[in-house]
Symmetry: D3
Subunit: 340 residues, 6 copies
């Protein structure tokens, strides 16, 4: 994707978004059975930064944390992956939380969100120096979750997107429309179109486009064509494709429209699933990795899909698979065999 990454010498990726405390029931236990919760700190965009940092791509995450020990804990959590946390801001307030029950077999996984009124929702848009943040950056990533949280979050996101464009930084956005959010008074179609307008690389399916832009068509490809007629700066649109046999068994593939045609990646049969949360983020991170390394579309999508598929086998929101492991899977080497 050489037309997107202008200079190979700038490799830093910037991500923006809320990081929550994730409290998950141990094993396959239920909320009503839990006498402990496993705790990590996670958010779609931060998960991507963590994956990239693990693959030796410098990555800084931008967010706001409470100015108490849980803010420190969340910072430390991100730092272990090598995420650059220097731009994180600390302020009074609470950390958003999500509770996770992982499900099993015919029983569905469940998430209960407790994220309203978090520090990040109350973020002060003036506290980030985007010009400084983007100094060495090559890529900026946001998701549709951020503008759905609060007006302040939406403002920060738009400001970041605009500055990124101004600085020649590639912008990717994972549309990720969630009806339950968007409770601060604005409708999704009042906010998202402006963000999408300044975005180079979009992750979305037909329904996402319909919800956010009111654009839909029969196929992914024809929808993409329609979208790009209005949003001319979009260069790539892609989406993962998931078939859910049960909570323990999914198929995972992907397709990408590159402005000319739609290409598809290999589909993976995933059984059992260890943790499916964050698989879309690993997929996105995989694509960014490929783009920065100037993989062609097919290879970038295959890498992204293998990264997303492998994430299903890993506990937590963040993939800890190495580039070598992902490539081996892509190439079908030693899948499942004992490596000594």
């Amino acid at each position: 994707m050489p037309e997107i990454i202008s200079t190979s010498t700038r490799r830093k990726v910037i991500t923006l978004g809320e990081v929550m405390m994730r409290l998950s029931c141990p094993g396959q236990g239920r909320f009503t059975q839990a006498d402990s919760f496993d705790v990590i700190y996670a958010g779609s965009e931060a998960n991507i930064a963590a994956a990239l940092a693990g693959w030796n791509i410098p990555a800084a995450h931008i967010t706001a944390f409470p100015d108490h020990d849980l803010g420190t804990a969340a910072t430390n959590y991100l730092r272990q992956f090598g995420v650059d946390t220097q731009y994180i801001r600390y302020q009074p307030g609470r950390l958003g939380i999500y509770f996770l029950e992982s499900g099993a077999s015919i029983r569905s996984p469940k998430i209960i969100y407790d994220r309203f009124n978090s520090c990040f929702a109350n973020v002060n848009p003036t506290q980030f120096d985007w010009s400084e943040i983007f100094r060495d950056a090559t890529w900026f990533h946001y998701s549709g979750i951020t503008p759905a949280i609060s007006q302040a979050a939406a403002d920060v996101c738009l400001e970041a997107v605009k500055m990124a464009r101004k600085k020649g930084v590639t912008v990717s956005g994972d549309i990720n429309y969630r009806r339950n959010l968007w409770q601060y008074g604005k409708a999704v179609r009042e906010i998202m179109p402006e963000l999408i307008k300044h975005t180079d690389v979009i992750v979305a399916g037909i329904t996402d486009f319909d919800n956010c832009l009111g654009i839909a068509d029969e196929t992914f490809e024809s929808t993409c064509e329609k979208v790009v007629r209005q949003y001319k700066d979009i260069r790539k649109i892609f989406t993962s494709i998931r078939k859910t046999v049960s909570a323990s068994h999914n198929m995972f593939g992907a397709m990408l429209w590159n402005g000319k045609k739609t290409i598809e990646a290999k589909t993976y049969d995933l059984i059992p699933i260890v943790d499916r949360v964050g698989t879309g983020d690993a997929f996105m991170a995989g694509y960014i990795f490929g783009a920065i390394n100037q993989f062609d579309d097919q290879r970038a999508l295959e890498f992204a899909t293998a990264a997303g598929a492998l994430k299903h086998t890993i506990e937590g929101d963040v993939t800890t698979c190495s580039v070598e492991e992902i490539v081996a899977l892509m190439e079908g080497e030693n899948v499942g065999k004992l490596l000594r």
Copy 2:
């Protein structure tokens, strides 16, 4: 099943039976490997009361516990589900125990019972005021385990059944014949026929009828017909149908004979199995729930089967699935999909 539940205003269910301490090896460990056991308190009939209480059906369980801290622990365990424990009696003696190793793949699950000489086996039949217990009740449930434990237990069970009938309370019995019990000197056929005679709703398969009544025929339907010729008060007979592929993979369905014909429920493919103990109890509870809510036979059996199937995904003896979750499964909605 309007002919069984006479008044919709009385909704209380009474269950009778031993509650044991269940000591299970963590994860897929073996008895000889365990350096800890997970502990819960469980018994077929109490599991049913707990499931019903969780579905907002008032349910009281009748049993006897030791008058020491383990009796308190067992009581507290039942109370968390909302089971009414006011009729439980406390007396010197021991709590029955069962040890569980869950198996995996081609390795079978194993149970070691250590239940002889328990408080419940030595229950004093005069200490329960059945007339008071059944005051607001609509349903009484027992299983064939109780009369197998001791003469005292058999006596209590028969007394309860008779009083239930006298009070117009529907009686269900899960025949559940187990050869290893029945060691107190009476044969099963000396005891069970009298109990079955006063039972409206029976859970049993061909083998159960053969063992307990000496009645069997080629098919479930023809066996039921034969049984009812002698036991004229029986209105419904049903049974779950399990196919065991491995310890981790079962198929689970059910059929019901309603006096006229045999109907079948959907079969569920269960992989992996989290905990198969208590699945029959969830199935029975599901049926009682349906009956009390005047579901027709097919819907009651589907609800029961879905309740039993879902239980395979839940740790412990008691289902913690909500009515909404069971109905969603019955109706094939979002099976295995992440619910936010």
Copy 3:
């Protein structure tokens, strides 16, 4: 205390207050080290109801919970102790949370609250039928935490206190002034005096009276005398006395002013401390137990103090000690000896 408990036949205690999810670091770990949190559900007043239910005093707790699985989990948690949960209301919203780090030796325990905007803060005052709730009650207990949370919570508390008085129910209040709360716009002295006016039994020290009523004097006794001059319905005032040697070592005693004089209880040397949260609640529950059982002041205070002291050895917010264990400690029997 026969003048307070009018009839020995009514024994039901009603408590009102927020119940939070408590997330505590395992062992002596720190917030920044935790990769899991132990979870229970707790609140000062509910802890008291749970202790009393464990001592066979019928006790119902009044609160509001979210209408999702965590509300069910919190309800189940209270039910295990035998707390009557029938009056709890369920509504959309979040469950308040508190995070606990237990400290050790010279390192202090720490609590981080995340309780704003909870269901209980947004409680609808009309949804509780206090007349019905107090039907069989002999005692009502509230704490100064409730009116500090929100106007709605303060309104519910005042309504309950007034109805309790009207119904002849003894009212106790644990003043428990916490500066960090009281953020909804009212000052403590705008709210607490009216509540205290209708309270029979007060738990407070000099500082509490100063903060809430602007009344203080040199000694506990002289302060009490001053308070009662204005708040004539108060019959008893008591307080625990804690000396903190370290996080692992406290001394715990108590004194009570009974309108005539101040009496003191035995002081306990507590080392090591297992969990000091909820010790004041066990102390309060102990006093209510004594009062309902018509213990004289000294015995009630000794029972309360022993109950509070023993709670330091018990994990969780709720004491699980039996009446027999508390009495044995009061009487100095077998302290610390192996009981077979």
Copy 4:
């Protein structure tokens, strides 16, 4: 003690007694809080065999286990310490159980026994070939628990004691009188005197002698003198001395009457206590170790006391301290210091 150990070339110790499953609440949790129990297999006499085997004294334990997986688990547990399990017999029946709550500070430890009707209680006295068992033995140890369990157990014990004497094997007995046992119809004074008559080395305090023999006097020394006037074969009598400050803090010392005078060992201040169960067994094992190694009375008692004291710091019933560690403690070297 050269007069007791006749030949230094025979070093094998034989112990006889019930081994139970020990189910203990994790950490400082309570029975009513436990959702798991830690499991080990333990019994006073087997604990002694295990300690001795760990100190390179060949030791075989004689008992009966169920012929199912829990019997295997118990055998394996003993084998890890090097205990010779070849003489253990397997038969249908149950394994005795004891439940342990460890207490903390002012809260007492508690044991609930569930040991009636065990395999060992129903032991078949003819199944042990004592002549073969004692072939290479130098020492036989029993405790007063065994004859208290059942007539069969008492018979086995007496048979063993007699054969040991006949074979020139030193016999030690830990009187360990427990009122709660002795429920099979015989009184302690019908059984114990005959056993004591054939015993060389006795562990007992004044109360034990009073209960078992009806002999008591003002001091330990004068009681011992009285006892030996009747039981002339006794050569040594000793006892540990425990002062219980709290469940977490004990003082532990010992005294020994050697036929001529009473000697005392150093007293240890034990805080915190990790696990006090089995400390008497470590003490007894320490004495046997000293005797077999021909320590003089003072050194044997000091070794025994240090072994018993150190056991308070070790989880489980069995001491895992090495001879070197015990000697270092006796000699006051590096107590509590980090050893690299």
Copy 5:
């Protein structure tokens, strides 16, 4: 296999090889996620001794351990299974370690070895009295790992093999060629041929023979025939056959060449896999068990294959399945069904 086992009265099996500490990530966690490791002590040959001891075949393992607490821990670990540890030698040095990440689904299991410079690698060949060790033995087993570790280990192995032959003890060798070992300066073909020359029963596949002897042919059978032309004492050659669908799903079968023809065993479908490490050792132990019990080739191979297959369901390196469980699987009885 009556021609191999000369006398049915000698049943002791001797195994020789390194025992390492195995440190495995809990559950399906990764090295980079682990904040604890599960610890056991394991080695291919010791795993075989442990399996055989569990099946009541006397088995002694020969190895060297450090003379500190970890050597004791490793010894105790082996002793629990009944392995005779009397010939183990203790010396200064380190215990080899292997780290294990178990993988899941499409993610491969991984082992990191840290075994160089261990006690066993530095073993002193003169410290084992092989004549004494083989006194009551009927079988000796080694693997190709031992000669790959160091010259000293290779020397010990050859000495043992030669003495075994001299004493009429059957010798089996698991070729198990691993390229990563063999770093001490000798090539595999300088060492293995001499060992194979004195071996009766070989476990190897075509690649193993090619690597170690430079002999290969198109099929297993033709390769075996070629090998035996040069290594005339070999009587049986067999190998397991594994098909890896994923880390969680394998097929496991086996074939054996008995000098005349190749026979095959039943293939097992293993899903999910609990722990695949040590499955080859369980397979080998199964074969030795069959041989000692004079099973014919088919039955010995079926027993071995069932033992190996069942091991996939068991945590740790050692199978804990009983002979009865293995036979039941071989015969297809109750596979996966709940055994009460």
Copy 6:
């Protein structure tokens, strides 16, 4: 300490030393009881870097790690505290390990080292660009462990010390003499004098000076005076003072000689001790923090001592206490009190 820190604008601290995997027995368990080990990554100098990074002092640690997943795990572990890991080198080899048993009461803690032949011992002295590393540094810290490991490690250390001096970076050294190390052929007095010669700030007691320099005198002060007569660049010498009552109870104080006089810090009574490993490192880090912040000698020593004392209450090798917590302890505020 303005004479040491030349410019307040350079605040970066560089530390050099081996980082090992620490495997510790859970709770108070023993090596022979452990079926899991807790795992962290630690080393004296890295612990100091981590403490400083947690107090917002930029700190980079220099070491070598294996080029496999455990090297990544160790890197991630350090990164969570904010340690700058960019200069760490990765190479084939093993990670050093230390095993820890924490002791309790009269039972001593124990460490077993398995650190020979690690990556760090085999470090390539040319792979660190010290000129680049010290670019923004103000302080360099090493310990006497590094030159004790291998000639290569000693060479790296000396090179670093010399370059630090050349660049005007303050050099501190913790002498920390350990007899068990120093096995590569050089004696401590062949190596340490040269390092000490270039060191500004020394942590050592009389014995350390005696061992390393052959200089000792009656008191700490007179020894320091003697040392400085020969080693004229030393500006400060300090040492912690520990009194060991038991493994669970220590007293911890300190003294410092500042070239003119000896000052002492407050002594802390520590009971119970959670983890005493790394307390000296927290003490050292505290001193460096004070020096960089230009605290006077007394305040720097008090801060260091409070930091070291508090570390006794924290699991792991690294202190996680904040500057605020340490200052509060120094000033005696709220010690052990619940902070809400």
